[in-house]
Symmetry: C2
Subunit: 82 residues, 2 copies
């Protein structure tokens, strides 16, 4: 069993409405927030035959489901899990 | 200026519908996903007079806006930013 921690964030230049709303709310609460961006972390437990296969699987998960190649960046770490 | 990286995740025992849907979608794509959980990372740039004040501000941002104390855990890192 492997555990992947996959972080998906917006590429620069793409609008981040959730980040903008959060910055606005923080300002309304009198915090001096200048800029907020929001990303998502997926923690996935999955089976793979080897570490190499695990990395290939996570790349494919990102490309096919978790990240939008037009607007998202992704990065991940994988470790063996019990 | 400080930069806080704040990760908000569900406490264990709380349902994670987005994680469940993601696991389901991964299974439909023939990945051997067993379990998926989703958390959010807020990257906030903000002004503070000192590191101590910056930490207090981020604690308060979490308590008042970013995390729901009933169901969320949060953790953060702060660094000085230009």
């Amino acid at each position: 069993m492997y555990r992947a921690r996959i972080e998906v964030s917006l590429k620069s230049g793409h609008s981040d409405p959730e980040g903008e709303m959060t910055a606005q709310s923080l300002k309304e609460l009198k915090f001096s927030a200048k800029n907020v961006s929001v990303s998502k972390v997926y923690t996935v437990f999955f089976e793979a035959e080897s570490r190499e296969k695990a990395e290939e699987a996570v790349e494919e998960m990102c490309r096919r489901l978790l990240a939008n190649p037009t607007k998202d960046n992704y990065r991940f770490e994988i470790e063996e899990a019990k």
